[in-house]
Amino acid sequence: MITLTTAEIRPDELRRQLFDPAAGAYCGFEGWIRNRNEGQNVLRLEYEAYEPLVLSEGEAVIEEARLQFPHLHAHCVHRTGLLEIGDCAVWVGVSSPHRDEAFSACRYIIDHLKVRLPIWKKEYYEDGHSGWVNCEQCAKHGAAAL
């Protein structure tokens, strides 16, 4: 399951939903807002998401993980809106019988979520300007070609 929220992500409550008496391993990943990106001091971030396709594409990613690593429970929550340094922007939790599949499935899910979900982040920098991550370079190419 994947969900979007504007509220604080609470991994401890979320991981309980993955409990299964047959599960011997749990792997959790969290993306935290950090104070530097590509050499600039970041003050805060704003996330925008297109929910209908975040949900369908997110479920597709989790289903792909389940096909590769059976018997797992997986859940992802992504936050949107304005976030501060240290806030948790995304959480992925996986439980499964053994640790190898818990690690592999968690890694598969976060790697694919990051490049496939229609989610964007805008960074606000110490020097007053702001920018869309991964996007400014694309825009420069565009401007040159117009």
Binding site: G31, E48, A49, Y50, P52, L53, S56, E57, H78, A89, V90, I110, L113, K114, V115, R116, L117, P118, I119, W120, K121, K122, W132, V133, N134, C135, Q137, C138, A139, H141, G142, A143, A144, A145, L146
Partner: protein, 80 residues
């Protein structure tokens, strides 16, 4: 000519100054829609992690578009 609703997201929306518009275009594929609206979103090519969806289903840049479709133009994504 086809009637296509185009929706812009994130940086594309900011560059266009609008969320969506309905246009009459001579287009066959999603890439054609991207090219026909580049004065709006500001990008020459759908580089990097740019993505596209048609009627809320993820599509490719060679996916066909039909009269009445809604095409969603996604600038490079950056989740997590």
């Amino acid at each position: 000519m086809k009637t296509i609703t185009v929706r812009y997201f994130a940086m594309f929306r900011e560059h266009a100054g609008l969320d969506e518009e309905t246009l009459t275009l001579e287009v066959a594929t999603t890439a054609d829609v991207f090219g026909a609206t580049r004065h709006r979103h500001g990008s020459a090519q759908p580089n990097g992690h740019c993505k596209v969806a048609v009627n809320d289903v993820m599509a490719d840049w060679d996916s066909p578009v039909s009269d009445g479709d809604t095409v969603l133009l996604f600038p490079p994504v950056a989740g997590g």
